[in-house]
């Protein structure tokens, strides 16, 4: 197997994630797109781990999975707060920082 087939798949997933983060209006969907990006990173890590025949990549993939779980927890709590304050979870409404 080529190393690049994994890396390019990962790049594709990452960019899909970027598109989702930028274009989706709903907070939950934005978080899902972030998960896509994190998974892309993990595929990279595991692919390099296999390529270099060392376990470090896998260890860090595990760390990333853990952090992603924490991130989803906090992120959903924030989305929930947004929903409670504005009765929907659209990120468009959150523009109090408008200059």
């Amino acid at each position: 197997m080529m190393l690049n087939q994994f890396l390019i798949l990962s790049a594709f997933l990452f960019c899909t994630g970027i598109y989702g983060v930028l274009a989706r209006r709903n907070g939950v969907l934005v978080l899902m797109s972030v998960e896509l990006m994190l998974n892309a990173v993990n595929i990279n890590l595991v692919a390099f781990s296999a390529f270099r025949a060392s376990v470090e990549g896998q260890v860090f993939a595990l760390f990333v999975i853990t952090i992603a779980a924490a991130e989803v927890g906090i992120g959903l709590a924030i989305v929930l707060l947004i929903y409670r304050n504005s009765r929907n979870s659209d990120l468009d409404n959150i523009d109090q920082l408008k200059g």
Binding site: M1, M2, L3, N4, Q5, F6, L7, I8, L9, A11, F12, F14, C15, T16, G17, I18, Y19, G20, L22, A23, R24, R25, N26, G27, V28, L29, M32, E35, L36, N39, N42, I43, V46, A47, S49, A50, A53, V55, E56, Q58, V59, A61, L62, F63, I65, T66, I67, A68, A69, A70, V72, G73, I74, L76, A77, I78, V79, L80, Y83, S89
Partner: protein, 187 residues
């Protein structure tokens, strides 16, 4: 013959998984139904788990299944229900869709050019040849009874060399737990 077989099967499996993942990923960010998005996300996550197993990272693969598909997706579904997101087809995108698409495609273009340039001819050599290649990280090589090299395990790496980051992450999880409760509770 067998070696050839071994070389082809993973490739075929990869391409099936990759195409499924790519399509599902596109659907995650384009579907008009938010519940469907979550279900497509499951496909992507499961595909990633399959790729890990393909790359002989079985442990990471199963953790991916347990944590992501088992917990994170459920969290998402809870989030969808708690925020009373519309379950029917609605326009879920904001008005910068085209700009976002351009940025993402541009990004991908740059990445692919760089990747092809950097790793164009590199192959992944899997398990069987590891011992012969002699590239095992010396720290984790253990010798069995008769001196043969035993494949290092993820567990010993986490609990030996990376025990401090591991503990730090456990603190982070605790903080996230407390933080999520503090943020989300009604008072």
């Amino acid at each position: 013959m067998l070696a050839e077989y071994n070389a082809v099967v993973p490739d075929v499996a990869f391409w099936i998984i990759a195409v499924a993942m790519g399509l599902a990923a596109i659907r995650v960010v384009t579907t008009k139904n938010i519940v469907h998005a979550a279900l497509y996300l499951v496909v992507v996550l499961a595909g990633a788990a399959a790729l890990y197993i393909l790359l002989t990272a079985e442990f990471v693969g199963w953790v991916q299944v347990l944590v992501y598909i088992g917990a994170v997706v459920i969290l998402f579904l809870f989030g969808i229900m708690l925020t009373r997101a519309p379950r029917t087809d609605t326009d879920l995108d904001n008005n910068q869709r085209w700009a976002a698409a351009i940025v993402a495609l541009f990004f991908m273009g740059v990445l692919i050019v760089l990747l092809v340039d950097a790793f164009g001819a590199k192959h992944i050599v899997l398990d069987d040849n590891l011992q012969a290649s002699g590239r095992l990280t010396a720290d984790f090589v253990k010798h069995g009874h008769n001196g043969q090299v035993v494949r290092p395990t993820v567990g010993s790496a986490i609990f030996q060399q990376y025990v401090l980051p591991f503990e730090a992450i456990s603190m982070l999880l605790l903080a996230a737990l407390v933080g999520a409760v503090a943020l989300a509770r009604r008072d």
